[in-house]
C-alpha cells in the first residue's frame, strides 16, 4: 500500500520526493519533502482513491547528532515530524514523515501549516510548537498551548534545560528535590534528610535471627 501511495504522491505533487521506509517491526512510513507538505496532504485528502479525511495527530521527535557505534547506526541531527493521517471511509492509516533541521533558539525550524486542510491541525501544530519548537508558517493562532506563554525553551527537545526560576518561583526547590541526582546504588554514608537512620537497630534485629 505504501508503495502505491508514494508513487501516487510523486506523480501528483512535483517535488514531493516521496520514498517509503518499510519497517520489519511496527509501521512503515513515507518520507516527503518538507516544502511540499501542504500539497501532499491536499492530494491525499482529495484523492478519490485514498480519501484520507482525518488528521489524527502530529508528532515531533528530536534527534541529536550521534556518531555510529557498534550496535547503532549514526544519527543525523534533525527534527522529524510525523503526520498520522487516517481514512475513516477506506479504513486505513498512513504515517507521513518530514525531516527538518533542528535550528536553534533564534532560528526555529519552519514548515507550512496545514490548518487550511484539516482544522484539527490547529491544536496539534500548537502543541508541536510548544513542545518541540517547530514554527508553522501560516498558522492562524500561533501560540503556546500547554506551557505558559512566557515559558522559555521547548521541553521535549532532548537538550532541554529547564529555567531556574519562573516568575519568582524556583523550579527545582532544593528541599523538594527527589534524590534523582544521586548516583544510584552508591555505597555512601550520608543520611536522608528528615529520616532517622539507626543502624544499631538493624544490628539488633540481625542478632535476633541468629
Amino acid at each position: 500500500m505504501h508503495k502505491e501511495i508514494s508513487d501516487f504522491l510523486n506523480r501528483s505533487v512535483s517535488g514531493a520526493d516521496a520514498q517509503v521506509i518499510s519497517a520489519t517491526v511496527g509501521d512503515s512510513a513515507i518520507y516527503v519533502n518538507a516544502k511540499q507538505i501542504l500539497k501532499v496532504c491536499e492530494a491525499l485528502k482529495n484523492s478519490p482513491e485514498y480519501q484520507m479525511n482525518v488528521l489524527q495527530v502530529i508528532t515531533a521527535a528530536d534527534y541529536l547528532a550521534a556518531a555510529a557505534t557498534e550496535t547503532t547506526p549514526a544519527v543525523e541531527e534533525r527534527i522529524e515530524l510525523t503526520y498520522v493521517i487516517a481514512s475513516f471511509i477506506k479504513n486505513s492509516e498512513l504515517l507521513i514523515k518530514v525531516k527538518l533541521p533542528r535550528g536553534d533558539k533564534n532560528n526555529l525550524p519552519q514548515i507550512d501549516s496545514i490548518c487550511s486542510i484539516w482544522k484539527s491541525a490547529n491544536w496539534q501544530e500548537r502543541e508541536a510548537f510548544d513542545m518541540m519548537g517547530v514554527k508553522f508558517n501560516g498558522h492562524p493562532d500561533h501560540r503556546r498551548i500547554l506551557c505558559p506563554d512566557d515559558w522559555v525553551g521547548h521541553p521535549l527537545r532532548k537538550d532541554y534545560v529547564a529555567m531556574e526560576s519562573y516568575n519568582g518561583m524556583t523550579i527545582y526547590p532544593e528541599d523538594k528535590l527527589n534524590f534523582k541526582e544521586r548516583e544510584f546504588g552508591v555505597r555512601q554514608k550520608t543520611d536522608v534528610k528528615g529520616a532517622v537512620t539507626s543502624i544499631s537497630n538493624y544490628e539488633l534485629g540481625a542478632k535476633n535471627i541468629n
Binding site: K119, N178, F179, K180, R182, F184, G185, V186, R187, Q188, K189, D191, V192, K193, G194, A195, V196, T197, S198, I199, N201, Y202, G205, A206, N208, I209, N210
Partner: protein, 174 residues
C-alpha cells in the same frame, strides 16, 4: 466556511397549547423520576459507612502502605531500579568476611549489610512494581491506609528505625 456550523439554540414560536403541554409533560416526567428517588427513602440499605467508627476492611491484595521487613532484605536494589518515581533509597555495605553468616527466611544468604532503607511515601505512586520484583518478598504492600501525617518529612519512612519497625506487629500479616 466555519460559520455554517454555528447554530444558536433553535428558538421556536410556541403556541399557548404547546406551552402548557410542555409544562404538563415536564411535571409528569419529573414526577416519574421522583417516584424512583422516593423508593430510596425507605427500604434501601444505606451504602455509606460512618468512617472513623466503622472501618472498611480492604481486600487482602490491596496496595497500600509499603513495608519492608529489613531482616529479610538482601539489598539487591531491584525495587529501587523498578520504581518509576525513584522514591526508594537504599545503601548497603559489604559484610565483613569474618562476620557471622546471615540468612533470610527463605534461605538466601545476606551478603550486604543494609545501612539505609528509606521510602519516601509522599512520592510513592503505589504501582506495585517494587513488590513484584522483590526476590525474597520482604517488601510488601500492606492494607493499612491510615497514615496521614502533618509534614512531608514524616512521610519518609526509614525501615531500620525502631519506631517504624514497631508497626510490624500492627500491619504485617504473616
Amino acid at each position: 466556511m466555519s460559520s455554517q456550523h454555528n447554530h444558536a439554540t433553535v428558538s421556536h414560536e410556541l403556541s399557548l397549547g404547546q406551552y402548557f403541554d410542555n409544562i404538563k409533560t415536564a411535571v409528569i416526567t419529573t414526577f416519574k423520576g421522583m417516584m424512583i428517588t422516593l423508593k430510596y427513602v425507605y427500604g434501601v440499605r444505606p451504602v455509606t459507612i460512618e468512617y472513623p467508627e466503622v472501618k472498611e476492611e480492604l481486600p487482602e491484595i490491596s496496595r497500600s502502605r509499603l513495608y519492608n521487613d529489613a531482616e529479610n532484605c538482601i539489598s539487591c536494589l531491584q525495587c529501587a531500579s523498578a520504581c518509576p518515581v525513584d522514591c526508594i533509597y537504599i545503601s548497603a555495605n559489604r559484610r565483613a568476611t569474618d562476620a557471622p553468616a546471615l540468612k533470610t527466611k527463605d534461605g538466601t544468604a545476606i551478603k550486604l549489610d543494609l545501612t539505609m532503607y528509606t521510602i519516601d511515601t509522599a512520592l510513592c505512586c503505589y504501582c506495585g512494581l517494587c513488590t513484584t520484583v522483590c526476590p525474597t518478598s520482604c517488601l510488601t504492600h500492606t492494607t493499612d491506609y491510615e497514615y496521614a501525617s502533618y509534614t512531608v518529612d514524616q512521610m519518609k519512612y526509614d525501615y531500620l528505625a525502631p519506631e517504624v519497625r514497631a508497626w510490624r506487629t500492627r500491619i504485617v500479616k504473616d
